[in-house]
């Protein structure tokens, strides 16, 4: 049986089969949270703080309750819920846990912080209700920047966090590193800041909570990347046993990380629904999504690197400061960005000596959550800038200096204690350079330079740690430790298979890619395999989807479970075919005798015995065709890698950065479905370009967000994102079921560095270098005309 979807050697894995999700998504038959309509359902919105810092002196909701259509309104005192507190297993000198109340009680810490929940008969009346709320504040002085947060005597965002520092770690500090810097022939430094960003899933956050009287369960249908984590926190905040809460996730329109933390609105909606005894829906509107959701990426680096004459890096010294906003997200905490940057900054390079200080500060801005790539887009950008700068000082080519420093022998244990499994760091860079060279971009650059035009070529090299297991997460010292995944699989009497996963696709096509894995293991047609996810009642526990863990961990668990089911099929099949177990194999939906392919049984035949004629089963086999397996990440995980090459032209007159060419050479090991991999890379690159050139969340001096719609928050559109060509290399992982490595974040990681390098290459004749993102046309023109300082 050869299907069009098969690869040449007859496997599903490796084939760009059409996505199983697409028919319903493309014909409007998907079901998102907002498509759920329950009888007697109410609509919720939140009264939100209008001041960035201060004490709440009164909340009066009496007029709210009089608004036509409004059914109820609750404050923190009315609902009396437990706080959400992310904890790291670190001493207080390193990490200060802070509580995030579900609704603000006596203090507000950012504009947009939820203070009260209003329920009404429709989505319009509820907003009328919000306008009738009367909240008074004793406004304090907001802390909005590194300078303000760290100034002596600065107002404190959280009383328990002296100096407004939530995390402060110093790591590695290789002995003698100061001497290395003192003696090195070349020392370069970079100071860079990166703009605060919004991960911006097309589908905003949303939830429908209802009471299932028959099951005695609170049913929470929510668009989360981490259904079980939401269940755990919900149960805790509500003070009820976890078995009385069921979290179900319908189709999702993106998450990118901001949905892998628990939102306080999810809890408040559930609590309010219990209080009024009616289903309650909350759909976050775009204004709240832009201003009061979880943000990310506002970081400041002060980094130095020492090099020898040959351009080999001798030491790296970095100070990383991340502005995590008003609260620590659960479960990752405000430590997520600085810890990621500190642990992984050396990246793909052989850095013999390393010292880093990573800090998280708290400010009166909307809180942050891990956004696709988590710090890696930032530190990769800084590393790549350091190499570019050293290349200029030493008179080396930018590609050559990288070649001299890339890790080429594996496994490699870095100065940061991380062991990297094999990758194609050098090969990917060489290929990226070859693509741009063969297309004539270097000639074009020389040609245009003669005409006074500004063409620039830039690269970035990076890896992406994926498949973090429990051990790797434990090294971060999280109080709850994600890592493993469990899969249950069963075949029914029709011979089709359903496998569960604890991961949660929010656009990544797991229903297709995981089915490809199962189909191969069982010799089944893809149409006969179904993946179930996003229901806490169906899976014992699962950590959801983030950190590029789904195919590496979830996919491996699914593969193992399928293998176990396959063993059972073989065992029963051999018995029924009256042959030895090692003389049977699975293919084409049948158990066949190896020495006589004409003798075989279909899975339907076997399922009939397993379920309907169990007396025919071998004595040592239980009825039914089910299996369970779990998988945990191995060692330090498995590293995908990529090199990006970008060509830009800067337009004199407007400062516009036009991307003329974008080439990505990626290696995610075995690509389960190359088209899905390319989709991940393209989407990621688009978000990386967004960070490099367009998006920034800004505030005025009072802490009022100044980008409350897409007019001011400049998410790029299809017009701004160029065609991206993708080239695949394949270094299979030894640590995962199929040799696959994670691929969810890579595009985002490499784009800012490559774009920034290309812009700076183009700016060479001006002598100006730009290290801060986003690089707006205004700043580019400022550099081209060297007439005003950047702003």
């Amino acid at each position: 049986m050869r299907e069009p979807g098969f690869t040449a050697d007859g496997t599903w894995v490796g084939a760009s089969v059409k996505r199983k999700e697409d028919p319903r998504l493309l014909t409007g038959r998907a079901r998102f949270v907002d498509d759920i309509h329950l009888p007697r359902m109410l609509h919720a919105q939140f009264v939100r703080s209008s001041v960035a810092a201060g004490e709440i002196t009164s909340v009066d909701l009496s007029r709210v309750r009089d608004v036509p259509g409004v059914v109820a309104a609750f404050t923190a005192a009315d609902l009396d819920l437990g706080d959400i507190t992310a904890v790291l297993d670190r001493p207080r000198s390193e990490f200060v846990p802070t509580a995030m109340p579900v609704l603000a009680r006596d203090r507000v810490r950012f504009v947009g912080e939820p203070i009260a929940i209003v329920l009404a008969e429709d989505a319009y009346a509820v907003e009328d209700g919000l306008e009738a709320a009367e909240v008074t504040y004793r406004a304090g002085t907001p802390v909005l920047s590194e300078e303000q947060a760290l100034a002596p005597g600065a107002p404190l965002v959280h009383d328990e966090a002296a100096d407004n520092v939530l995390l402060d770690v110093s790591m590695f500090a290789t002995e003698g590193i100061d001497d290395i810097f003192a003696d090195a022939p070349c020392v370069v430094s970079v100071r860079a800041t990166t703009g605060r960003q919004n991960a911006l899933p097309l589908e905003t956050r949303g939830v429908v909570a209802s009471w299932d009287a028959r099951a005695g369960q609170l049913l929470v249908q929510t668009c989360t990347q981490v259904p079980h984590v939401v269940r755990t926190v919900l149960a805790g905040c509500l003070g009820r046993p976890e078995n009385t809460v069921r979290v179900v996730v319908p189709d999702m329109g993106g998450g990118f990380g901001i949905k892998c933390v628990v939102g306080r609105e999810e809890i408040a909606v559930a609590a309010a629904s219990l209080r009024v005894g009616r289903p309650v829906k909350w759909i976050e509107d775009r204004k709240d999504a832009l201003t009061a959701s979880f943000l990310a990426r506002e970081q400041r680096y002060q980094a130095r690197a020492a090099f020898d004459e040959a351009g080999r890096i001798l030491a790296l010294d970095a100070d990383v400061l991340c502005d995590m906003g008003a609260y620590s997200c659960y479960p990752f905490s405000a430590g997520i960005e600085p810890l990621m940057a500190s642990a992984e900054m050396p990246g793909v390079y052989r850095v013999p000596a390393y010292r880093v200080r990573g800090r998280a500060i708290t400010t009166n801005k909307a809180p942050t959550a891990p956004y696709r790539g988590v710090s890696r887009p930032q530190y990769v950008m800084v590393m790549e800038r350091l190499f570019e700068r050293a290349a200029r000082e030493l008179g080396l080519g930018p590609v050559e200096i990288r070649r001299r420093n890339l890790i080429t022998t594996f496994p490699y244990t870095g100065v940061n204690g991380i062991t990297y499994d094999p990758g194609s760091y050098l090969e990917s860079l060489n290929l990226a350079e070859r693509v741009l060279t063969e297309e004539g971009w270097y000639e074009r650059q020389r040609e245009l330079a003669g005409q006074g035009r500004f063409l620039g070529i830039g690269y970035s090299c990076f890896n992406e740690r994926t498949g973090y297991g429990s051990d790797a997460f434990a090294k971060r010292r999280m109080a709850v430790v994600p890592g493993f995944d469990i899969s249950e699989i069963r075949m029914d009497t029709s011979g089709t298979v359903v496998a569960t996963t604890g991961t949660m696709s929010h656009g990544q096509s797991h229903e297709t890619t995981m089915a490809q894995i199962v189909a191969d293991r069982l010799g089944l047609d893809l149409d006969h395999v179904f993946i179930q996810q996003g229901d806490t009642d169906r899976v014992a526990y699962g950590w959801g989807t983030f950190a590029s863990r789904s195919i590496t961990i979830g996919g491996s668990a699914v593969g193992l479970a399928a293998g176990r089911l396959g063993d059972k099929l073989l065992h029963i099949g051999a018995h029924l075919l009256r042959t030895r177990p090692d003389n049977v194999e699975l293919s084409g939906g049948r158990v066949r005798k190896c020495d006589d392919h004409t003798r075989s049984l279909s899975y339907v035949d076997i399922a009939e015995v397993a379920y309907l004629k169990a007396h025919l089963l071998p004595k040592d086999v239980d009825p039914g065709l089910t299996a369970t397996a779990s998988f945990d990440g191995i060692g330090d995980g498995t590293f995908s890698n990529a090199s990006h090459g970008v060509v830009v032209e800067l337009h004199a007159g407007t400062g516009q950065v036009e991307i003329l060419r974008y080439a990505c050479v990626e290696d995610c090991g075995v690509a389960i479905n190359p088209q899905v991999v390319e989709g991940q890379a393209r989407g990621g690159i688009a978000q990386g370009i967004a960070g490099a050139l367009f998006e920034q969340v800004t505030y005025d001096e009072q802490g009022e967000p100044s980008a409350a719609s897409f007019i001011d928050y400049k998410v790029p559109t299809a017009c701004e994102i160029p065609d991206i060509s993708i080239h695949h290399l394949e270094t299979p992982s030894a640590f995962t079921g199929n040799g696959a490595k994670g691929v969810g974040e890579g595009g985002t990681i490499g784009a800012p560095a490559a774009v920034l390098n290309a812009v700076n290459d183009a700016l060479r004749p001006t002598g100006v270098e730009l290290d801060d993102t986003p690089i707006t046309p205004e700043r580019v023109l400022g550099a081209l005309e060297v007439r005003w300082t950047t702003r």
């Binding site: 907003e127 205004e778 007439r787």
Partner: protein, 285 residues
Amino acid sequence: MKPPPFGYHRARDVAGATALVAELGEDAKFLAGGQSLIPMMNFRLARPAHLVDIARLGELSFLRRDDDRLHVGALTTHHEVESAPDRSVRGFEVVREAMRWIGHLPIRTRGTAGGSLAHGDATAEWCLLAVLLDAEIVTASPRGSRVIPAGEAFLGFFTTLLEPDELIVEVVFPKPAPHAALTEFAERRGDFAIVAAAVDLDVAGGRVTGGRVVLGGVAPVPLRVPAAEALLGAGERADAELFAACGRAAAEAVDPPDGPGPGADYRRSLVRALVARACEEALAR
């Protein structure tokens, strides 16, 4: 992002529409394409108590030539103008070509010429074109009809000469402008311009004998720049040097706002570049 309660009325004819708005008073507004008004209502920045929907007044949707004049009905959508055949816009190509700068296709299929002029955004392409080409804005109200010269229509930030119950019926461009162009710059395609520049040149025998320069994004209203226009009136050779000088003169003459968003220096630089570019494009047309 849902509007407060409002009453909805659908007009059957122009007289009925204006009479109804007059009767409902200050808090009543015409609703045309809804591409400016509805977003403002969703943000609760506009709170009309009543909307009088004029979208079904088919008689206000037209694009017509009579002799040298181009008539555009108030309800003609940006997209209808954008896709107009050559013959109906001959000599007024600048009007058609400018449409592609307005928002995105879905917006252009609903947004209307009249709505844009009434909304009075200082960077709106329709407002710039009207001032550039000395258009006449024809209106109707319970007090009768009048013609407002575009040069007098825009009073300040989103403020026009229109009375609340005065409906724009059509905009009339009085004479062909074969050498006119509009160009602009925004960070993203489809955004309102940071700066927009529109020019109309009189060209004879390779020389520029007169011209107009109108800018958006540098003042609360579409701004004519006499200092730059003076350079165009001197009969100089139509070349890059003249156009660059014109751009520099315009940049020196304006006093753009300094943020929030793009700063004054940047806007001035854009004026310099875009005026020169608009001149080049106008000449090439």
